[in-house]
Symmetry: C2
Subunit: 132 residues, 2 copies
Amino acid sequence: MNIGAVARATGLPPKTIRYYESIGLVKPTERSAGNYRRYGESEVMTLRFVERARRLGFTLKEVADLLALWRDKTRASGDVRALAQAQIRRLDARLRELRAMRRTLEHLVERCHGDERPDCPILDELAGGKLS
Amino acid sequence: MNIGAVARATGLPPKTIRYYESIGLVKPTERSAGNYRRYGESEVMTLRFVERARRLGFTLKEVADLLALWRDKTRASGDVRALAQAQIRRLDARLRELRAMRRTLEHLVERCHGDERPDCPILDELAGGKLS
DNA sequence: ATTGACCTTCCAGTGGCTGGAATGCCCATA
DNA sequence: TATGGGCATTCCAGCCACTGGAAGGTCAAT
């Protein structure tokens, strides 16, 4: 399998696959005569794993840790769970931040008539308000 | 006011203030004899404006737009409102993404016993599951 | 005169890609 | 056999919004 086929099979762009290789995550089984990357099924599985973990918001560092645990048949499932729970906590923190931003913006938008006139509570608050 | 005082007054690190200057957002009124940046009240106000807008999740490009609207006394408040509403929509999109991640992770964590044993549904799903 | 806090510039790195240039490979068709 | 098109390669650069650190200059107080 060339990189393009792997890209189609994993949903990851070729560029990203090369990037993952450059940081040591997944490397091709071999190179063809013409120096093309050639991949086998297990690399495709690994890349799919990476793609799914990324979609759950894990950093590449954590993905590497998860991959290591995946490969380690003697791992403790508690270690995996701990990573997942840490990620949930980070998501919660981020959700709280975004919700706070949203609330504030919503208040501002409500108070701004939003027409041709120049007076605008949004700018006023940004300029001097306390924005809670 | 030197940059350190401005930093204290705005909550922005000196490095960030210099960075904002480098991208043309806010420049000091003048330089002292010893080449120190010197700021007046209006720069402090501008930086506070920037800091608040950033806290609401606006990009620096949008902050620049908001600043331009702020300075333009003939602006239409609708233009400001449109920026704020676009930002709310982006926040909503991001919130949906994060919530979806959270839901999936929560399911996975529930199904993983998380002890010393190696079998782990989290890894299984990352490896081959459909993760909804 | 010396200390120490502050300031200066410049370069480099973060994360996770993404774009583009210049070049090379592979295969099918005329 | 030439040629064309679709792949692939490497390398450099850029994105965003900072942040860290080195090497040095300034300023006020002791």
